[in-house]
C-alpha cells in the first residue's frame, strides 16, 4: 500500500511534539513560500528549510520518497509540458510546435522541484501528526467560524474516522477481490462495459461491509457516551509552548526571507 496520506509515522521528535495548529498553519505558510520563491536562491532556501524540518522530524527519507510515487506521473507530465512548450531565446532544438530551450529546461526543473517540495512538505505534516491531532487542530482553527454555522467538531470527527477506516477498507477490498477471483471472476480483461459490470461483485460487498461497520461503530461510540460536542474535553488540550512559538517564527522568517529575496533582489 502506498497511501502516505493519513499514514502516521510514530516516533518522538521535535516536530511530532509541536502543536498541530502550528503544524497546519506552518504547512500553509511553507506552501506559500514555495510559491513565492522565484529564483534558484529562493528555492534553495525553501529546500534547506524542508531538509531541516525532515531531519528534526526523524521520519525516514525513504518513507517521504515513497509518498512521491503516486505523483510521479504528474511530475513527468509537467516536466514534459514545460520542456517542449516553453518558448525562450536560446532554442536548442525545434520541430514544429515543439521546442526545447534553456529557459524551458530551467522552468521544467523548477516546476518539478516545486511539486516535490510541496508534496514532501505536506507529507511531513501527515507523517508527524496523528489523524486525531490533525483533526483536532482543524477543529480549533475552524472554531471561530462555528458562529456562522460551520460544524467544526463534526467535520473533524468525520475526517478522523474516515482516515481511520481507509486502511481497513483497503484490506477488505483486497480480500473481496481475491474471494471473487477464487470464484472465477475476471477483473482485467474484457470490454469497458464488461469491466464495469465485473465491479459489481466487488462494490456490493464493500458497501454492505462499510455500512455494517458504520452501524457497529456508531453503536460502540454511543456505548462510550459519545454525544457530539456536548460537554466534551480532550486528553491533549492544545496549548502553545515555547517550541511552538519558535516554529511559527521560523516559518514566518522563511516566508519573509523568500519574499525579500524575490522583491528586493529578484532572486
Amino acid at each position: 500500500m502506498n497511501i502516505t496520506i493519513g499514514q502516521y509515522y510514530p516516533t518522538n521528535s521535535l516536530i511530532h511534539n509541536l502543536d498541530s495548529r502550528i503544524k497546519i498553519m506552518g504547512t500553509f505558510l511553507y506552501i506559500a513560500a514555495v510559491f513565492i520563491a522565484k529564483g534558484v536562491v529562493g528555492y534553495a532556501v525553501c529546500a534547506a528549510f524542508l531538509a531541516l524540518v525532515i531531519r528534526l522530524s526523524k521520519v525516514p527519507v525513504k518513507m517521504l520518497l515513497g509518498g512521491l510515487k503516486p505523483i510521479i506521473l504528474i511530475i513527468l507530465f509537467t516536466v514534459m509540458l514545460n520542456i517542449f512548450f516553453t518558448g525562450g531565446k536560446d532554442i536548442l532544438w525545434q520541430h514544429g510546435i515543439f521546442k526545447i530551450s534553456v529557459q524551458g529546461i530551467l522552468l521544467a526543473v523548477k516546476m518539478a522541484v516545486r511539486l516535490i517540495m510541496l508534496v514532501m512538505g505536506s507529507s511531513v505534516l501527515t507523517l508527524s501528526t496523528t489523524p486525531i491531532q490533525l483533526t483536532v487542530g482543524m477543529e480549533y482553527l475552524l472554531k471561530p467560524y462555528k458562529k456562522i454555522g460551520v460544524p467544526a467538531h463534526e467535520i473533524a470527527m468525520m475526517t478522523s474516522i474516515a482516515l481511520r477506516f481507509i486502511p481497513t477498507l483497503v484490506e477488505e477490498l483486497d480480500k473481496i477481490r481475491k474471494a471473487q477471483m477464487a470464484r472465477g471472476a475476471d477483473f482485467d480483461t474484457g470490454t469497458l462495459a464488461q469491466k464495469a459490470k465485473s465491479l459489481i461483485p466487488l462494490l456490493v460487498p464493500l458497501f454492505v461491509s462499510a455500512f455494517r461497520r458504520a452501524d457497529e461503530l456508531a453503536m460502540a461510540m454511543e456505548a462510550r457516551c459519545y454525544r457530539g460536542d456536548i460537554n466534551r474535553t480532550r486528553m491533549n488540550e492544545l496549548e502553545m509552548h515555547k517550541n511552538d512559538y519558535i516554529a511559527l517564527a521560523a516559518v514566518l522568517v522563511l516566508v519573509f526571507l523568500v519574499l525579500a529575496l524575490r522583491l528586493v533582489w529578484g532572486l
Binding site: G6, Y8, P10, N12, P60, K62, M63, T130, P131, I132, S160, I161, L163, R164, P167, T168, K175, I176, K178, A179, Q180, M181, A182, R183, G184, A185, D186, I200, P201, V204, P205, V208, S209, R212, R213, E216, L217, M219, A220, M221, E222, A223, R224, C225, Y226, R227, N231, R232, T233, R234, M235, N236, E237
Partner: protein, 584 residues
C-alpha cells in the same frame, strides 16, 4: 446489591417487509434476571436466543418494549439516567476493528473519558491506569492496526475501564480470536473481576463459561437455565438439547456414568478429573491400543516445494510469512490445518490456487506447476475451490440462486448445466428450494455461510480449501457446517483442506493434521501422532483437545496411559475397561 435487575423484560425488533408492513420479531420474551454487584456471569445460548439483545439493554443501547430493567438502581427508560448508565456499565463488542475510533492507542482509550468531560490531566492518569490493567502499557503510542485481535480487544476493554465502570458487558469478545488471544482476554477479565468489577460475558465457548461464578442459558428470549457452572454442565442432555456444548471431560463422565461407572457428574476441569481418577486408584491395567491405525498417504494431488513468501519485501514492514514449506497432500484426504494467527496458514492456502505467488518455491497440482501457464489460471481456480474466512461477506447478488450461480457462470457453462450445479450445491448444504429466490442478506448467519460455501462447491472443485469455516458460529451451526464438509469429502470424494483454530473440531474429522508455526511446518501427521506432543502444541499457542490434555496430565502423575487418545469415546473405553466395578 443487584447491579442489573430486569423485570419481565420484553424486546421486539421491528422491520418492514416489501409491502411496508411491520414485522415484529420478539428477541427477549419476559426475562427476569438479577445480577449482583461483583459477579462474573457467563451468558450462553445459540444465535438468536436473545443474549445480545439483553446485553444491549444493560448499556441502554436498546430500551425495553415491555417491562423494565434497572442498572445500578437506575431505570434505563428515564432519559436523564442514560449517560450515568453507560458510564457505569461499559460495553465491548465482537469485532475489534469496528469499535476502534482512533489511530493511536492512548487516544483510543481516552475517547470515553473525553466524552464524559473529564479534565485532561485526569484523563491522562486514567489512560495510564487502564493500559496497565490490561497489560498493554508499552503499546501506548502504537497504531491499533499493528496489534493482534486479542490485543485489540484488550484495548477495547481499557477504553471501557478508563470510564471507571462498575460493570463490563462483553458481547462475544473472543469469537474472532485465536486461542492465545482468547486466553489473554479471559485472564484480563478474571483479574478485573477480582478487583470488584461485575462482568457479563456472552460467549459460545464453554471453557470460558466454566470460569464464571454463574452461568445463565438463554433460549428463545427466556432464561432457561441459571446456576453455578457445575450445576449447569452436569445436565449434559439438557444442554445438548439447547444446541450447546459441555466440556469434553464432563461429557466423558456422562458417558462413563451411562455405562454404570461410579463417577461424579459435575467435573469440568482436567485437574478435577485427574484428582478423581487418582483417588479411585486408577491404573492402566488393560492393554489398549488407543487410536493407532496404519495410515497410507494416497497418491499426491497438491505438492508444495520449498515455498517461501515475504510480505513487503525490502520495506520497513517486511515480514516472512512462509519459510521453506514442503508438503504433499494426497488425493481424497481431509487435511486439518492449524496454527496461531500469523503462522502463515492463510498465506499458504492462497498459494494453492495461485491467488498469491512467490518468487521462491512452487506448487504442483496433479504434478503440474500451477503458475507455469497463465492461461490456465481460471481452470486452476475452478479445480481448487477456496472459501475465505467469513465468506458470507462476499455475497452480492439479489437472490441466493444467482449468487451461487456466479462461479459456474464465470466458467462459461450452459444455462442448464449451471442450474443443475447450483441446485446440487444448495441441496448439499441443506438449503431447500424455498430459499432460492430469497435475498442472501435476509438469511441468518449460519445460512449465509452455507450459501457462500455452496457458491464454491457449485464449481465442482477437486480440492476444497476452507479458511475457518466455523469462526463466530454457535455450536449448532458449527456442527452443521462441519457435517456438510465431512459429507462433501465422503460422498463427493473431494480433497478437503480445513483451516481451524479448534483442535477439537479438526480432531473429529481430519485424516491428517498440518500444524504451522511462524511460517514453517511444525508437524504434519495423523491426529494420534500430532496429539502425542500435547506439550509442544501448548507451547506454540494452540489448544489441544481437553482429552489429550487429560491423558498428558495422567502421565505426569505417573500413570501409563496411551499418548494417542484425544476423543471422548476412546477415552471412555479406556477408563471403562479399567474402572468398571471399582467404587470409591
Amino acid at each position: 446489591m443487584d447491579f442489573v435487575k430486569s423485570e419481565h423484560l420484553v424486546y421486539d425488533y421491528k422491520t418492514y417487509n416489501e409491502k411496508s408492513e411491520i414485522i415484529t420479531n420478539r428477541a427477549v420474551d419476559g426475562l427476569d434476571i438479577a445480577i449482583p454487584k461483583g459477579q462474573f456471569i457467563a451468558v450462553l445460548g445459540h444465535n438468536g436466543s436473545g443474549k445480545s439483545t439483553f446485553a444491549k439493554h444493560i448499556n441502554a443501547l436498546l430500551l425495553p418494549s415491555e417491562g423494565k430493567i434497572e442498572v445500578n438502581g437506575l431505570d434505563t427508560k428515564d432519559e436523564k439516567n442514560i449517560w450515568n448508565i453507560r458510564q457505569s456499565a461499559g460495553m465491548v463488542f465482537q469485532n475489534p476493528d469496528n469499535q476502534i475510533i482512533a489511530t493511536i492507542i492512548d487516544e483510543e482509550v481516552a475517547f470515553g473519558p473525553e466524552n464524559l468531560g473529564v479534565p485532561s490531566d485526569e484523563i491522562k492518569a486514567r489512560v495510564e491506569d487502564a493500559l496497565l490493567s490490561v497489560n498493554m502499557s508499552k503499546y501506548k503510542n502504537s497504531s491499533p492496526m499493528m496489534l493482534s485481535g486479542g490485543q485489540k480487544q484488550r484495548i477495547a476493554i481499557a477504553g471501557v475501564l478508563a470510564m471507571k465502570p462498575d460493570c463490563i458487558v462483553l458481547d462475544e469478545p473472543t469469537a474472532m480470536l485465536d486461542p492465545i488471544g482468547r486466553r489473554q482476554v479471559i485472564n484480563t477479565l478474571l483479574q478485573l473481576n477480582k478487583q470488584g468489577i461485575t462482568i457479563v460475558l456472552i460467549t459460545h465457548y464453554m471453557e470460558e463459561a466454566c470460569l464464571a461464578d454463574r452461568v445463565a442459558v438463554f433460549d428463545k428470549g427466556r432464561l432457561v437455565m441459571d446456576g453455578a457452572p457445575k450445576e449447569i454442565f452436569r445436565q449434559v442432555e439438557k444442554i445438548k438439547s439447547l444446541h450447546l456444548d459441555v466440556p469434553q471431560v464432563t461429557e466423558l463422565c456422562f458417558k462413563l456414568r451411562n455405562r454404570g461407572v461410579d463417577i461424579p457428574d459435575d467435573i469440568l476441569t482436567i485437574d478435577e478429573m485427574t484428582d478423581v481418577l487418582l483417588k479411585k486408584g486408577f491404573k492402566n491395567k488393560v492393554e489398549f491400543n488407543g487410536n493407532k491405525k496404519h495410515y497410507q498417504i494416497p497418491e499426491a494431488l497438491i505438492e508444495v516445494h520449498g515455498l517461501t513468501h515475504i510480505y513487503g519485501k525490502e520495506t520497513v514492514y517486511e515480514r516472512v510469512a512462509l519459510k521453506d514449506v514442503d508438503i504433499t497432500i494426497g488425493r481424497g484426504e481431509l487435511i486439518g490445518l492449524i496454527g496461531h494467527t500469523g503462522s502463515g496458514k492463510s498465506t499458504l492456502i492462497q498459494h494453492f490456487n495461485a491467488l498469491t505467488k512467490s518468487d521462491e518455491g512452487c506448487v504442483l497440482l496433479a504434478g503440474v506447476d500451477i503458475n507455469s501457464d497463465k492461461s490456465r489460471l481460471k481452470e486452476i481456480r475452478q479445480r481448487v475451490g477456496l472459501v475465505f474466512q467469513y465468506p458470507e461477506h462476499q455475497l452480492f447478488e439479489t437472490t441466493v440462486f444467482k449468487d451461487v450461480a456466479f462461479g459456474p457462470s464465470n466458467m462459461g457453462l450452459e444455462k442448464d448445466d449451471i442450474e443443475k450445479r447450483v441446485k446440487e450445491a444448495l441441496e448439499f448444504v441443506g438449503m431447500g428450494e424455498d430459499m432460492y429466490e430469497k435475498s442472501p442478506f435476509e438469511l441468518s448467519g449460519g445460512q449465509k455461510r452455507r450459501v457462500a460455501i455452496a457458491g464454491v462447491l457449485a464449481m465442482r472443485p477437486e480440492v476444497l480449501v476452507l479458511d475457518e469455516p466455523t469462526a463466530g458460529l454457535d455450536p449448532f451451526s458449527r456442527d452443521e457446517i462441519l457435517g456438510n464438509i465431512k459429507k462433501m469429502h465422503d460422498e463427493l470424494g473431494i480433497t478437503v483442506v480445513l483451516v481451524s483454530h479448534s483442535m477439537e473440531d479438526i480432531s473429529k474429522i481430519a485424516d491428517r493434521i498440518l500444524v504451522m508455526n511462524n511460517g514453517s511446518v511444525e508437524i504434519f501427521d495423523t491426529p494420534d501422532r500430532v496429539f502425542e506432543n500435547v506439550k509442544r502444541l501448548t507451547e506454540i499457542g494452540l489448544n489441544a483437545p481437553q482429552i489429550s490434555l487429560l491423558m498428558d496430565s495422567l502421565r505426569d502423575k505417573g500413570i501409563d496411559v496411551p499418548k494417542d487418545i484425544f476423543d471422548t469415546d476412546t477415552a471412555c473405553e479406556l477408563l471403562y475397561n479399567n474402572l468398571a466395578g471399582v467404587s470409591v
